[in-house]
């Protein structure tokens, strides 16, 4: 009896805590059940149906896998857009991670005007979001201006010359083409890496300087300590940034696949087909994130 008393009391306390824990997350649970679960399964169900809108009601007749088959075989654009978009995502995500890592390394150094530079690099997070991003990407005036500049200077730039040399050498032309495309779009890369730079910076600042001092005394050069200390210490942030970038990229409003889905849904009112396409896209991204993050997490080093 005497032994049981405190145990009971503890169980009661734990129970109370569990209940208040549930009360705290109740908004999420309710929201999830009402606004996520039903639409989630409904959209899954609709992807196997043809949906017809009537007055006050909509009916869905199951047609099996036809929507999925149509997405790949009948629709002229979808599979091409999907492949292009996945390729672009892969290339850009790598570029963004590398870019933001090196920018964070530079911004972590001490120099005059550092606060200003940081502020400028973070500015795109605020400015190029939502509608503005979509409008920016098809700004014809800017494109014309760029074209004019390119025509008048006619490849006297260093990068242009370098591009020509590497192209004609004929080795791995495709790889070079992707690289050049990214270099040409360095603006997009810089715009998309605001948050990632901050995350890397915060990681860099937690590495204690005594490690670098010890390495310095042992005769380590700066270059070696970058790869032997800095890189492993913030390797877990690579995973965070990778996932964040992929998600961010897949939800951008200038994404061609998303545009296509919206067009089918809003203009053609073909809800079933739109659902099927968005499910294919979602599953592909999920698989992509799963495989790549498994690959990265194998290489992540945890200090403690």
């Amino acid at each position: 009896m005497k032994m049981k008393m405190p145990k009971n009391k503890l169980a009661g306390l734990q129970k109370r805590k569990a209940i208040s824990g549930y009360l705290f997350i109740a908004p999420f649970i309710i929201g999830f059940l009402v606004f996520m679960v039903k639409p989630f399964f409904q959209s899954l169900w609709m992807s196997f149906c043809t949906v017809t809108l009537g007055s006050g009601e909509f009916t869905s007749t199951p047609i099996g896998l036809d929507n999925y088959k149509n997405a790949f075989t009948v629709d002229p654009e979808y599979s091409r857009l999907l492949v292009e978009e996945m390729g672009r995502m892969m290339a850009y995500t790598i570029a963004i991670i590398v870019f933001s890592f090196f920018m964070a390394l530079i911004l972590n150094q001490k120099f005059r005007g550092r606060a200003l530079v940081r502020a400028v690099f973070f500015l795109p997070v605020i400015l190029s979001s939502g509608v503005i991003l979509g409008l920016e990407s098809n700004n014809q005036l800017m494109a014309q201006l760029a074209q004019t500049i390119e025509d008048t200077t006619s490849n006297i730039s260093i990068t242009g010359a370098l591009e020509d040399v590497l192209r004609t050498s004929g080795v791995g032309v495709r790889a070079f083409d992707t690289l050049f495309e990214i270099i040409d779009h360095i603006y997009d890369v810089a715009l998309a890496s605001g948050i990632q730079i901050i995350i890397f910076l915060s990681g860099l600042q937690t590495i204690s300087s005594s490690m670098y001092e010890a390495a310095d005394i042992e005769g380590c050069t700066k270059w070696e300590s970058l790869w032997k200390i800095t890189f492993p210490m913030i390797s877990s942030l690579f995973l965070v940034n990778w996932i964040y970038t992929v998600i961010d990229f897949s939800m951008r409003s200038d994404n061609e696949v998303i545009k296509k889905i919206q067009k089918v849904m809003i203009d053609n009112l073909d809800y079933g087909f739109a659902s099927a396409m968005s499910w294919i896209y979602f599953l592909l991204i999920l698989v992509f994130i799963g495989i790549t993050s498994l690959f990265i997490s194998k290489r992540v080093y945890y200090y403690d």
């Binding site: 705290f24 997350i25 509608v131 920016e136 877990s236 499910w279």
Partner: protein, 336 residues
């Protein structure tokens, strides 16, 4: 001690003398550091210019008249300075109405979202309860699912809105919530708004890093769960909450997707801007009475002006709250 040291430096003489004594090492070091900072300056200057150039370009374009746009000599400083573009864009977007709407909606939505996300984040960080991992996996799922995937059925969900058939019983038919503001507030209250999973994740991460002693001390002193939360934990978490609030506000301000889906009939800056070129066409047609095609340059000029008018309030906000934006991301200690 210090005095003698100073004397020693002085006695070592000029830079060149010291350099000779060190066997050329000092010069090499100095030269490297200067070279590094010059390279760094060029690189950073270039990148900063790259980021700022579109804004500067928009500012200069927005003050040009149409004939300046076609004048090849005019590059960035307008020859005929005008503020006509601003007046026209303001009229096309219905600026005074839509900025008020946008401000009110962004503010209220952001406040609601952050309040809810704080509760949820705190619950996940500080309590042990059954199925906790399952629910947290759901949060991750919410982060991962692109809203576009479920957009289709959300669309229908609100067109024929009903909770467990209650409304059908009362009214005889489900209610159509499309075109009203209510669904979005409901969704925000349920943490399903724009990027809410991310906020929950960040806030949870922050609360997890606060030492547990603080809470225990409060419990021992007789604080209840709620009182501990409001009196001890909330003040502690103010920086991360501010920054999440700012993000929610800013992203809601420029959002196009949710606004188009739920707030279609409300005049907002985001939706107004995405339609501005079409409205320009309609406006000119109305003025002239004939259907004309607008030149690309002029419509882009109006677009640039409209973008600037949306962005300027955000830039002002950023100038004042820059520290809050940036520093609390670092302080949340995001890890995997």
């Amino acid at each position: 001690m210090i005095k003698t040291k100073k004397k020693m430096v002085n006695s070592n003489g000029t830079f060149w003398e010291r350099n000779r004594k060190s066997g050329g090492y000092l010069l090499k070091k100095k030269a490297t550091s200067i070279a590094v900072s010059i390279c760094r300056f060029i690189l950073l200057f270039g990148l900063c210019f790259l980021i700022l150039q579109p804004i500067l370009n928009k500012i200069s374009i927005s003050f040009m008249t149409e004939q300046d746009l076609y004048n090849p000599i005019v590059v960035s400083i307008p020859e005929h300075f005008t503020t006509e573009n601003y007046k026209l864009s303001a009229e096309l977007m219905d600026y005074s109405v839509s900025i008020r709407n946008t401000f009110l909606i962004s503010l209220s939505i952001a406040l609601l979202q952050i309040m809810m996300c704080t509760l949820v984040g705190y619950g996940f960080a500080r309590f042990k309860f059954p199925l906790k991992n399952f629910w947290f996996a759901c949060v991750i799922l919410v982060i991962l699912i692109p809203p576009q995937t479920i957009a289709t059925s959300l669309h229908l969900h609100f067109k024929f809105f009903d909770i467990f058939g209650i409304f059908s019983l009362i009214n005889g038919e489900p209610i159509n919530l499309r075109g009203s503001v209510l669904p979005y507030y409901l969704m925000s209250a349920g943490c399903m708004g724009l990027k809410n999973g991310l906020y929950i994740y960040m806030i949870r991460q922050f609360f997890r890093n606060i030492p547990g002693d603080l809470e225990e001390a409060a419990y021992v002193d007789g604080c209840g769960t709620l009182k501990t939360f409001f009196r001890i934990m909330l003040p502690e978490a103010m920086p991360i909450l501010t920054s999440c609030f700012l993000f929610a506000f800013v992203w809601q301000w420029t959002d196009g997707f949710y606004s188009k889906m739920f707030l279609g009939t409300t005049k907002l800056l985001g939706t107004g801007l995405s339609r501005i070129v079409d409205s320009l066409g309609a406006y000119i047609q109305r003025e002239l009475g004939v259907k004309t095609t607008i030149s690309v340059a002029y419509s882009n000029c109006i677009l640039a002006t409209g973008t600037l008018m949306i962005v300027v309030p955000l830039i002002i906000l950023y100038l004042f709250a820059q520290r809050a934006f940036v520093e609390s991301i670092s302080s949340s200690g995001i890890k995997m």
